[in-house]
Amino acid sequence: MALLKRWVARQFTTRVIVLMPVAIAINIVLGYTVQSVLKLPIYVDSIGTILVGCVAGPLPGAATGILSNLIWQYAPGIGPGSQIGPFAITAGVIGLLAGLWGQLGLFRPRRGHALNIAAAVVAVVLIGVLALYTYGRAFESPDQFANATFKDPGAFDQSRFFFLAIMVVFVGLVSWALVLRRDVGAVFAISAGLFTGIVAAIISAPVYAFFYGGLSGSGTDAIVAAFRAGGDSLYQATLKQGLLSDPIDKMITTFIVFFLVGNLSRRFVARFPNGEKLVGPEVQPELAPKPEAS
């Protein structure tokens, strides 16, 4: 019991308490800005949650996610605030998972040692098998999607088609990260993002289906409509849509967070509860905290 209390207290230092509101505001504002300024079709409304999770731990991460959605629902300043509240559960799980990834050191920069590369390969295989299984299960009904969109039924096994789409994005992001940063750690981070995305989709689907008839008011509704036209149930269509867009969104988000954490001044990161797991033992001495300027 005392151990549990210490574990909790260790994650909620004053520094983390100060970071949380900032992260909540980042969640609410940044996703909206990316859509309005850069006009990109992604949500990225969990950067703050994943950041807190990975620098502070699972509990602050979960708390940041849950509070983000509740506060956005309660005081809807911008964007789709007035419908976001029920997804507090998803956001909480995303934060919790990010905290686990952080404590496992998945956001740490890694060099291309043989051991790291081997571990990365294992991670990719694991996440690939997991994704294949999930997509196989979710799409196990006959190929109605193909019926609805492609004239030739049987030309596509839709679970494989979607699995492939996700994997293309995965490989694309991973190779971009490797070219950009020459850092094997990116493989772990983006794998973690894919896992998070799958979990998020599975949790969100019933919420969507129950509260909003499976729709979100954004462009992805067209996909839901296509599945439904193919004969899927409300829930199934929503889940399939989620399994397409959530993993992509979360892979991009974790990719951004990985990039951010890698670019962060060591001095800032090191003072957070998860600091040493993010900075990692591979940091050269000259990267150790430098004196604060006046």
Binding site: T14, P21, R266, R267, A270, R271, P285, A288, P289, K290, P291, E292, A293, S294
Partner: protein, 271 residues
Amino acid sequence: MAIELGSVRYRYAGSASSVLGPIDLRVEPGRVVGVAGANESGKSTLCLVAAGLAPGVIGGRLEGSVRIDGVDAATLRPHELAQRCGLLFQHASTQLSHTTATVFEEVAFGPCNLGLPVAEVVTRVWWALRTAGIEPLASRDPARLSGGQGQLVALASVLALRPRYLILDEPTSELDPAGTQLVAEALERIVRETGAGILLVEHKTDVLARIADEVVVLDHGAVVLSGSAAAVLADPRLAELGVEPPAGVRLERAVRASGLEWSAELEEAVE
């Protein structure tokens, strides 16, 4: 009775070398000790150390002793330190709590944290607002103030904890001339009326010339010049230490350098 730093050295967590020290410094109640020096010469670190927050809150390693009114700062917890020694930074926006709707409540944030009775909180808030010279702002929204006003609210918020000493880290560096003037006036009033001891880090040597009794100059973490404000600010080594001398001193130097005499008439005109 004083803040006393005895041969203090400090290094940040994970850093191999000291960024500060050795430093011996004494801030007595009713006195203003100015600190000048180039950027990254250790001035901010000195503030954190003197306020007892380093290493208490940010880690790192301290050698030597920091005593506040004879008590070893290392034995005091942050909220106890806060009631002995107030700390103010350069950006007003980072110091306000951003949880309050009025300046009154913002200033009350500290006393409320201490769990004081409401009547005591109210008394302290009015006192702090009066001392900082911002009673008329009490009902305003702290998020909608000018830079100078915001800094004075931050100052009042620190005063409300009734510290005997104030440590100010470049409180005017982000302010326009009007804002700088407001803060300088408030500091003069605080010393006069409360007898607080002030450690003031400041780039604007004109401000130091106006309100500091003594000035120390830091270079690479160590005190290289110290003495009365007038003497230190007129020291010819100031510029090479990265400190811009006050306007009057620069003018005097320019006049002398051109072979002219610094007459009483000139000195009066520059005052």
